[in-house]
């Protein structure tokens, strides 16, 4: 019962933040539509900004519904202090997320600068090893075979260009 209440509480707080983001996005789209050229000789109904304007308006309505609902359910009672932030940063899930995303971003940065097969071997080896997917030598074998097989099949056999 307690678990359910905690989950609902978290979900209401998340809804509160999400609804603010959704309302901000819809207002931004509405503004962009308003400043778009109108091509009035086609008729106002044919302007490029008309369909996004309509759907941004719908998004604004739905975002407002979620916002009001989260306020009724007391989702606005957020506690953002130093303790909460340090607890958040220390959690295992956040650390793992930062690590996996960091590795992906480094891979993305080097893509096109380093040969695809070499970069992929390095990425696969490091990720499998750091997340304890296999021992170092199994990680090495998996990394080399996967990267080389992908490169051979796609670039050499199917003539698909790789980054």
């Amino acid at each position: 019962m307690n678990d359910k209440n905690t989950n609902d509480d978290k979900s209401n707080k998340a809804d509160f933040i999400d609804s603010i983001v959704i309302i901000a996005v819809s207002l931004f789209v509405l503004y962009e539509c308003a400043v778009m050229p109108r091509y009035e000789r086609w008729g106002l109904y044919a302007t490029p900004g008309m369909p996004p304007f309509l759907f941004a308006l719908l998004l604004l309505i739905l975002g407002t519904i979620v916002f009001v609902r989260s306020i009724i359910r007391k989702g606005y009672k957020l506690r953002i202090g130093r303790n909460e932030l340090s607890q958040f940063a220390k959690s295992g899930e956040v650390r793992r997320f930062v690590l996996v995303l960091g590795l992906i971003l480094v891979y993305l940065f080097l893509l096109g600068r380093v040969h695809f097969a070499i970069l992929s071997v390095a990425y696969l080896f490091l990720t499998i090893l750091l997340f304890k997917g296999a021992t170092w030598w199994v990680s090495g074998i998996v990394a080399v075979t996967t990267a080389v097989a992908v490169w051979l099949v796609f670039e050499i056999i199917f003539l698909v260009p790789l980054p």
Binding site: W42, P48, P51, F55, L105, T127, F158, P161
Partner: protein, 511 residues
């Protein structure tokens, strides 16, 4: 008479060379469908170049087998990894993955395979018998009807994927439509929401967004959660029992018919067919609460419809030279390359071709069934691999699939960005399927709404005039508000005389 011609062509095409070609091409198609990012469209496009110098019959048979195999193959990764290999398999994830998680992966693949075969078979019948008749029905869909159809697709998908809180599904769908508006629009050629980024002028490609929201998000979720998988000790029976399939005979037929009709409408495609059929099945089911938690009926509905849609999508290809889906468009181009001229004159110029084409489709469906049921257990080993070993490998396939479409590094960046967006959406209970579907349907909404308004000089009334539009508007209304209390009370009131009549008849027959 059509059946006789079909049978004659099936017998005529029976040869070891043709069988080997079909089986190899179908297996290749299944692999294309399975790997995230590699789609049926891409498979047909790649093989069109390889088969360019082959004889017309062999080349078309190969491409058709790839099409059928790839649409089916998408269900493999959807069931085993919760990553739809092709957009057509997005609805399969809803029940296929929960079934695999509960240790019934082999059974789920067996059910998906047999229902895909039944779907293809229903599509085959429609393709061979109704091509000339049904082709003309698709022509009745003009701008007004196409607009409502696209809106219906997004509404239904939002409802289905967020049954507890449909608002979140609709928000996801509207965000997808807004994303589809990015880039150069088709009527005045104005670049919308591009912010000076040249790569955005062509808009967001579907593949990077789909691979990002499904594939990348799944990788981020699995690796960051650090949870270990449940070890599946029993693999179980792959070939489904006949009585189990017979139990769902009505779902199979209904989903097949839905798939054909949606395939007939140009530009809609297999993904929406699967969602619409899933919704119909859920509404008619005695156990709607099981949907999304591993319902066999839901899986059968989605898989039958997307494969029946392949047959349906080929009907306008042959009879009108208008493709019903993206892979069907590439197949149409391949037919032209091989000097086959589909269109309204095909029944006059080469009346036998429709039956020859249908016979090829028949062999492709048989190959899909046999290969689908034979090569299941080795694939289930994927489920037993550690996430930390499997996910980085999938990431490499996501990169290759995303880059191979346009050869742009920008697409990979988009894939990663949408991976993070998909991760946040899943964490906050926003379904990603409506976003992906809306990205497909967004241009359809935009162009048909504005074109329709230009044609009617700004008058909205023609959008509500035709019978098809009225049916679609009613369907949208019930999708959005059908479960609200006032509508349910109103419906009960309207149908009260009917229910009273039915109960009176029942009482009379009992006596």
């Amino acid at each position: 008479m059509g059946i006789v011609y079909l049978f004659q062509n099936i017998v005529r095409l029976f040869s070891p060379i043709n069988l080997i070609t079909v089986f190899l091409a179908c297996q290749l198609g299944i692999l294309f469908g399975m790997l995230p990012g590699l789609t049926a469209t891409m498979g047909i496009a790649l093989l069109t170049t390889i088969t360019f110098k082959w004889s017309t019959g062999n080349a078309i048979m190969t491409l058709l087998a790839i099409y059928v195999g790839a649409i089916y193959g998408g269900s493999r990764s959807a069931i085993l990894l919760n990553i739809p290999g092709t957009p057509a398999a997005a609805a399969t994830c809803l029940d296929g993955f929960p079934l695999a998680q509960s240790g019934r992966g082999a059974e789920a693949i067996g059910l998906a395979t047999t229902s895909s075969f039944f779907g293809s078979f229903i599509g085959l019948i429609a393709l061979s018998l109704f091509t000339p008749i049904l082709g003309s029905f698709a022509l009745d869909f003009k701008s007004f009807e196409m607009f409502w159809l696209a809106v219906f697709g997004v509404a239904i998908c939002g409802n289905l994927t967020a049954p507890r809180d449909p608002i979140k599904g609709w928000i996801s769908g509207i965000l997808g439509i807004l994303l589809a508006f990015c880039g150069m629009e088709a009527i005045q050629g104005h670049p919308r929401f591009t912010f000076g980024v040249l790569d955005l002028y062509s808009g967001f490609s579907l593949i990077p967004v789909m691979v990002g929201t499904y594939g990348m998000a799944e990788i981020l979720l699995n690796l960051s959660s650090g949870q270990k998988k449940k070890v599946i000790t029993e693999i179980g029976r792959v070939v489904p029992q006949l009585n189990r399939l017979l139990k769902h005979w009505f779902t199979i037929i209904r989903s097949g018919i839905i798939g054909i009709f949606i395939g007939l409408v140009p530009g809609v495609g297999e993904s929406i067919a699967a969602y619409v059929s899933y919704d119909f099945s859920k509404r008619a089911s005695k156990h709607p609460d099981e949907y999304g938690k591993g319902s066999e009926e839901g899986l059968i509905a989605a898989e039958t419809a997307n494969n029946a849609c392949t047959g349906g999508a080929l009907i306008p290809v042959l009879s009108l030279a208008i493709p019903g889906s993206a892979p069907a468009a590439v197949l149409l181009a391949a037919l032209w390359l091989h000097n086959v001229r589909p269109g309204p004159l095909i029944m006059i110029e080469s009346p036998n071709y429709i039956y020859e084409f249908s016979a090829m489709f028949f062999y492709a469906s048989i190959a899909m069934l046999v290969l689908g049921l034979l090569i299941v257990k080795p694939l289930l080993k994927i489920l037993q691999l550690k996430n930390a070993l499997l996910m980085p490998i999938i990431f490499i396939f996501c990169i290759v699939g995303t880059y191979a479409i346009n050869g742009r590094l920008f697409d990979i960046t988009i894939m990663v960005i949408f991976g993070v967006i998909g991760f946040i959406m899943r964490k906050h209970d926003y379904p990603v399927a409506p976003l992906v579907l809306a990205l497909i349907l967004g241009p359809m909404v935009d162009e048909n709404l504005r074109r329709g308004l230009i044609l009617s000089n700004g008058d909205f009334l023609p959008f509500l005039k035709s019978p098809i539009s009225i049916v679609l508007v009613i369907a949208i209304f019930f999708t959005l508000f059908g479960r609200t209390k006032p509508v349910r009370i109103a419906l009960r009131f309207v149908f009260k005389p009917v229910t009273l009549l039915v109960s009176a008849v029942k009482r009379r027959t009992k006596k």
